[in-house]
Symmetry: C2
Subunit: 141 residues, 2 copies
Amino acid sequence: MKLLTKHTDYAIRALSELCENKNKFFSARQIAKRQRIPYQFLRQILQGLIKDKLVISKEGSGGGFRIDKDPNLISIVDIIAIFQGNIQLSDCMFRKKLCANRSNCVLKKQINRVEKLVNKEFKGITIGCLLKDLEKQRRRL
Amino acid sequence: MKLLTKHTDYAIRALSELCENKNKFFSARQIAKRQRIPYQFLRQILQGLIKDKLVISKEGSGGGFRIDKDPNLISIVDIIAIFQGNIQLSDCMFRKKLCANRSNCVLKKQINRVEKLVNKEFKGITIGCLLKDLEKQRRRL
DNA sequence: GTTAACTGATATTATTATAGTATCAGTTAC
DNA sequence: GTAACTGATACTATAATAATATCAGTTAAC
């Protein structure tokens, strides 16, 4: 029962890493080591980020990945969407027919309401704002 | 990626069924049939509801289950808690140590915020209010 | 007092999602 | 040419969820 999977978690970390220098290419191996992410798993994740054009890659020796979108425009819903599909709090919503019992449908309405709320909140959480929070935290130490 | 499992979904339906007549004992077989819930699965769920004293049971022929708590005081967080533990949107929160990367911890803070929001909203959704919604819906038809 | 309709408790299996690993082909810089 | 990379994809492992099966004990009614 969780809304964020490792895919999303690792993707966020990888993106933050890339933001350390937006012009540099970081190799998957580098990122994996620094962020303690299983290497092959990270490579899959990076492929996902490429498809959505959040990062760009360079093949060959000295190659790697570079951020390709304004961090302030990368929200965690975008990342969730890549790896987990749209946010849905209950299976119930997938059922095409009306539920056997109507009470389930009134539940669905309530859940939909909360779902929209979560979506809205998550949209507001961007890589950019996470980095800002991080900066603040660092200054405080 | 869902917050409500079948356990919770079925439990809500079973409780609504029991509310049809708060003094009557309904057998698991009856409920299963009417709500189209796999019988043995439902029995497990009802055992869970008994442990938390949401329902009471009567053994033997003519026995079954009866609601034992004011529906207005049964919130879906209570039910989620029985079958899924506390609401947690990310695994990250389980890690005792600080994350390798601090950015993860700032993420944690944001997720915690949304988590509290979801909890608050879910607390407001009770069996009682779902039944009320259902009544309204019926009257409209 | 036997039988049918029940619950209590628990073990087992199936299914699916998530997480992680392995491999091979192709690219690039030196 | 070779070491350090990515692209693509197949495979395996683990865990959570969903569902099934079984047996012992209880109760009501005949």
